[in-house]
């Protein structure tokens, strides 16, 4: 008896413990309420958008409360048991007019602030700083129109994290090799377009989401008050790596921004000097491997096998093994009507030569082909042909 009592008590305890966990789990999740709602963001516009969102949300809640109260009251009060004889009424013109006009007025009340905010978002003046944002499969390019700086911004999350081989970092899928840098308290205007398919450039904290459409330029603007790192995404399905081309914006004080611009310009000069240098095969292959991993693996895969028929294999490809001239041409000009884009403006002469050399030296291509390689000067010589 006692023994049985103890077992029951133990079981009861276990049940209690588990039900506590079961009940508290959702509460714990709710405790992170901020993670369940839109963020107010860091610009005037984003705060206004947040206010609009909360306003319409509360209006919906209020309407829902009224409608569902009447409904649930009827459901409990007017069951067949409690009300065997149903009422006979089936129309009431006054009521119908009332519930057409009242919602209409609520909507008008909602439309006014929404229209005002929209007008502000559409204020299309030029910015103090103008940046062209170009979407590519699957990365962003940023061109600073005043300062002649341009660079690509690629996902920097390790493939091993994505395939669960190593633990995931804090900013998993929301980190890039080079973020967009902008100054705070400055009107920055974005000219958004795309190179291949439609992408969409979204930074939630600025309430900017604007489609990047090939052949068209859309504009958006922001003025960020608080320095910080703001993360967003591509929000238009753009192919297989749509989920892997985040947007990261670093907002810094004006001084810091000016320093950064200087630094970028000096780096460009250093790179030009490097182009003149004599590169060895080993140096190029080593550098090319990194370039390949950032720019090419998404389609052509780490093992060079590609994903035929849309993304052809490089391993064993006749062009990569034997036709150096055609190889350079494809990289520089892309392939018309296919997914292969031109990399002429995306890679420096060094990186271009390095990546071609890497593919010509890897996966047995050198052994089975002519084994030739490409140096930066070849690319410099090719450029005027485009």
């Amino acid at each position: 008896m006692t023994l049985k009592g103890v077992t029951i008590l133990k079981k009861l305890k276990a049940v209690l413990l588990w039900s506590c966990i079961a009940v508290s789990a959702p509460i714990n999740l709710f405790a992170q309420w901020d993670n369940l709602n839109m963020r107010p963001g860091v610009t005037d516009v984003s705060n206004e958008v947040f206010e609009l969102h909360m306003l319409i949300f509360y209006i919906c809640c209020a309407i829902g409360l009224v409608v569902f109260s009447v409904m649930f009251y009827s459901m409990f009060r007017y069951t067949k048991k409690k009300n065997p004889e149903p009422a006979k009424f089936h129309e009431h013109t006054g009521l119908e007019i009332m519930w057409t006009v009242v919602p209409f007025l609520i909507l008008v009340g909602m439309a006014i602030p929404a229209s005002q905010t929209l007008k502000e978002i559409y204020n299309d003046e030029e910015g103090e700083i103008n940046i062209q944002v170009v979407g590519y499969q699957w990365k962003w390019e940023y061109r600073y129109l005043e300062d002649d700086i341009k660079f690509f911004s690629n996902l920097s999350t390790d493939m091993d994290e994505i395939y669960n081989l190593v633990p995931k970092g804090e900013n998993y899928l929301l980190e890039v090799d080079e973020p967009l840098v902008i100054p705070t308290n400055t009107r920055v205007r974005f000219l958004i377009t795309a190179n291949d398919v439609i992408h969409s450039w979204w930074v939630p904290d600025f309430a900017i989401k604007q489609d990047a459409i090939p052949g068209f330029i859309n504009t958006a603007w922001t003025e960020v008050s608080k320095p910080g790192i703001y993360r967003g995404n591509c929000t238009e399905l753009c192919g297989k790596n749509h989920g892997f081309m985040p947007v990261v914006v670093k907002a810094v004080e004006m001084d810091e921004y000016t320093d950064w611009v200087m630094e970028r310009k000096e780096a460009a000069i250093r790179l030009a000097e490097l182009t003149e240098k004599e590169w060895s095969l080993a140096e190029l292959t080593e550098r090319g491997k990194g370039v390949y991993q950032t720019n090419c693996v998404a389609c052509h895969q780490v093992n060079g096998q590609g994903l035929p028929p849309v993304f052809p294999a490089l391993a064993g490809s006749n062009i990569v093994m034997n036709d150096k001239a055609k190889n350079i041409e494809i990289l520089m000009e892309g392939v018309q009507g296919a997914a292969m884009q031109s990399f002429a403006n995306q890679l420096s002469e060094i990186d271009m030569a390095a990546v071609i050399t890497y593919t010509r030296q890897s996966w047995g291509n050198a052994e089975n082909g002519d084994g030739s390689y490409v140096v930066p000067k070849d690319i410099v010589e090719y450029k005027p042909k485009i």
Partner: protein, 526 residues
């Protein structure tokens, strides 16, 4: 002479035997059954694809499928559920019910009816076969925006285009049939404003389909030209415009979403009226509300495209027009509530589904209203908030109404009552499943998770896990639905011709199961 005709008549009064009955049938009840089973099969296939999607999203990281296959799954899931599950189910219901509700012997164009059904298996056979083609199935989303669906598409896109053309032809034929039947074959005395609301809802739906299906056909034809014949409709480099595609697509696409909800309004009205045992409140305002929704559906399409960079005037117009839709939709909800008020309600399974429809569709309507607010839409657009919104109007909206309809009319179709205990279990499992799946998606959407992502940042992990658990619960409970339906077809308590105490309408005046031919002589309606 008259003897000859009599004999001729006698040969045809029952169904043919064997498999050929189903291939050659021109009987509206047989074709209705075919449509319903076809849509159920598609619902299970599309559902299996949803399970692949949810399983991959159970945890961050890529586990089960590769991103390229994930995109194929989300594309086919959308296409199959919209064109293969929801639309054919409503056409099946129309086939079964419209002639019986208006006192007609059959659809007006029975051979066309046979053709419009038998096109569908071929259309979806072609679409599904693209999974096994080189380069894989279509992977550009069910909205297939150019140029992802043209220049950058896998080779199977041509098969996809062909299959959409066939589906469109089938829908147009079906709609012509519905309109001709309703306009010409109503029993004497049945004025338009005396028609059952399901018939009204389908009359309006059929006009919408005839108006927009050719537009979809135009869009895919332009894609075909761009891909194979060197035109540049959607290619900016050739002087075309990728945004043009979106305008054309959504000019079809927005009426399309009402095509998937108007018949649900009709069904819900009948069921609430029956189980509240009280005449529907505001019949004529219900009709006018449906007409207003249908007309407004042609002037709101660009609210799907607020972020493409339209001029301010266009954004304002589409915001206001979209908000306006809330008015007639609200009227419908208020009328349903007013019907229940002071009724004498019982809660059989069809009523449970119908009430869940009203509540959850309204929640979907609220998020729709939020999405109409353009500045806020800049934050919601293409996030899981949108996914939650349209699944709320489509799953506990359209799909629940279809399930309600099946439970409501299956005693009339089979002559047997369904198992009330099992069907209640089915309801509660579906109800819990659907909410656990889609409600948290509002939150992860607001928190910033974009849609059509095979992988996501860590802060979305908890609720994605919950959502996946709900999805599997919902999916599994549909196997129970299949079982209940089969069990009812095989046997069960015999149904009376009236079936439900509060049921009104001509379809309840014929025996259960409904004889193969009904209303050979038109009934008289006062």
């Amino acid at each position: 002479m008259s003897t000859v005709i009599e004999n001729h008549h006698d040969h045809h009064h029952g169904p043919a035997s064997g498999l050929m009955r189903w291939v050659t049938t021109t009987n509206h009840k047989d074709i209705g059954t075919l449509y319903l089973w076809f849509s159920f099969a598609m619902f299970l296939i599309g559902g299996a694809m949803a399970m692949v999607i949810r399983a991959e999203l159970f945890q961050p990281g890529m586990q089960i499928v590769q991103p390229e296959f994930y995109n194929q799954m989300l594309t086919l899931h959308g296409l199959i559920m919209v064109f293969g599950a929801v639309m054919p189910a409503f056409v099946g219901l129309a086939n079964w019910l419209v002639p019986m509700m208006i006192g007609a012997p059959d659809m007006a164009l029975p051979r066309l009816n046979n053709l419009s059904f038998w096109l569908l298996p071929f259309a979806f056979g072609i679409l599904l076969s693209s999974l096994f083609m080189e380069g894989g199935a279509p992977n550009f989303g069910w909205t297939f925006y150019a140029p992802l669906s043209t220049t950058y598409a896998p080779p199977s896109v041509t098969f996809f285009i062909f299959s959409v053309h066939i589906m469109g032809a089938s829908s147009i034929m079906g709609s012509i049939n519905v309109i001709v039947t309703i306009m010409n074959m109503r029993a004497p005395g049945m004025d338009l404003m005396k028609m059952p609301l399901f018939v009204w809802s389908w009359l309006i739906t059929a006009y919408l389909l005839i108006a927009v299906m050719p537009v979809l056909a135009g869009a895919v034809t332009m894609m075909l030209m761009d891909i194979h014949f060197g035109t540049s409709f959607f290619n900016a480099a050739g002087g075309g415009d990728p945004v043009l595609f979106q305008h054309i697509f959504w000019f079809f696409g927005h009426p399309e979403v009402y095509i998937m909800i108007l018949p649900a309004f009709g069904i819900t009205s009948h069921i609430i009226e029956t189980f509240a045992r009280k005449r529907l409140f505001g019949y004529s305002s219900m009709v006018w509300a449906m007409l207003s929704i249908a007309i407004l559906s042609f002037v709101v399409w660009a609210h799907h495209m607020f972020t493409v960079g339209m001029p301010l005037a266009a954004e304002l117009f589409f915001m206001w027009a979209t908000m306006l839709i809330a008015v007639p939709t609200g009227v419908k909800v208020f009328n349903w509530v007013a019907t229940m008020f002071r009724g004498s309600i019982t809660y059989e399974t069809p009523m449970l589904f119908a009430i869940a429809f009203v509540v959850l569709f309204t929640i979907g309507g609220f998020s729709g209203l939020m999405l109409a607010i353009t500045p806020a839409d800049f934050q919601y657009h293409d996030t899981y908030f949108v996914v939650a919104h349209f699944h709320y109007v489509l799953v506990p909206g359209s799909v629940f109404s279809i399930m309600a309809a099946v439970y409501y009319w299956i005693p009339k179709w089979t002559g047997n009552m369904y198992d009330e205990r099992l069907s209640r279990l089915h309801f509660w499992l579906s109800f819990v499943g659907v909410n656990v799946t889609f409600f948290p998606q509002h939150w992860i959407g607001l928190a910033g998770m974009p849609r059509r992502y095979p992988d996501y940042a860590l802060q979305f992990a908890d609720w994605n896990m919950v959502s996946t658990a709900g999805a599997f619960l919902f999916g599994a409970s549909q196997i129970l639905f299949l079982f209940i339906v089969l069990k009812t077809v095989v046997g069960g308590k015999k149904a009376t011709s009236q079936v439900w105490e509060g049921a009104k309408g001509l379809e309840w005046s014929v025996a259960s199961p409904a004889p193969y031919h009904t209303f050979s002589t038109p009934p008289k309606v006062d």
